[in-house]
């Protein structure tokens, strides 16, 4: 998972859990039953686990571009110190 992917994963589970919790709380309040809130919350967490925990391909769309490796670095540094 690349850096952009990590950011996306964190934002996803953040808003999914909050959204399910908020909607569940309002519906639970209307029915005066906290178990409804818990069920909504559990669905939100389950979706987040499936969506955000495994390394899905769409988290790897911005691979880190490494610089090319320096050839013969030890040889070069010895030569420059002379």
């Amino acid at each position: 998972m690349d850096y952009k992917g990590q950011q996306l994963a964190e934002l996803l589970f953040y808003w999914i859990i909050i959204a399910f919790g908020a909607v569940g709380w309002v519906i639970g309040y209307m029915h005066q039953d906290f178990f409804i809130v818990f069920k909504f919350w559990l669905v939100g967490v389950s979706i987040s686990v499936v969506l955000c925990v495994p390394d899905w391909p769409f988290y790897n769309r911005n691979p880190i571009e490494w610089l090319d490796s320096v050839p013969n670095r030890q040889v070069e540094s010895k030569e420059s110190s002379k």
Partner: protein
């Protein structure tokens, strides 16, 4: 967020934090509920006095009572159960205010049929025992009290107004 385990940890514990906030909101949503939703106590009075004896140096009275109360208004989505109890109170020379629990009952929110308490001639669970031998001739008040046990938040008490409590006078002789 770079490995599966760090992400799993993040999701689970963020979820638990949200659940905690939702529970606290549920508790906050019912602040002030008791001021407009008081249980209705239609009847709480002495049915019969079974005995008043000296029991190893201290006075002990056994009695039965009638109780009819609707506890339904006290319940809401953040109440797990009520602990309902009958308190007998009287004055004595030793103590200005004696309060003795003589009977109790747990009313759970998952059993709505128990919320309407209608009992006749119930014998006390715990005897009315004085600290000394001063029970004879005393005026005793019977009062219903209850503890709200919430799912989240603080336990708080409720009670029948003392002005509505019934009272009776114990006999002046042992019987």
């Amino acid at each position: 967020m770079h490995t599966v385990w760090v992400r799993l940890n993040g999701v689970v514990f963020f979820g638990l934090t949200v659940l905690l906030c939702l529970s606290c909101l549920a508790a906050i949503s019912k602040i002030g509920h008791t001021s407009s939703h008081a249980p209705v106590i239609e009847k709480l009075e002495l049915k019969s006095l079974r005995s008043l004896k000296s029991h190893g140096g201290v006075d002990r009275a056994l009695l039965s009572f009638d109780l009819k109360a609707d506890m339904t208004p006290a319940f809401h989505w953040n109440i797990k159960q009520l602990f309902v109890y009958v308190v007998a109170s009287y004055e004595s020379t030793k103590n200005r205010n004696n309060q003795i629990v003589i009977w109790d009952k747990i009313v759970e929110s998952i059993h709505p049929e128990d919320m309407m308490i209608e009992l006749e001639n119930v014998f006390v669970k715990y005897a009315l025992v004085d600290q000394g031998d001063e029970l004879r001739g005393k005026d005793v008040k019977l009062q219903l009290m209850w503890d709200h046990m919430p799912i989240t938040g603080l336990l708080y008490m409720g009670e029948q107004p003392l002005s509505e409590a019934s009272s009776f006078t114990l006999p002046t002789e042992y019987q």
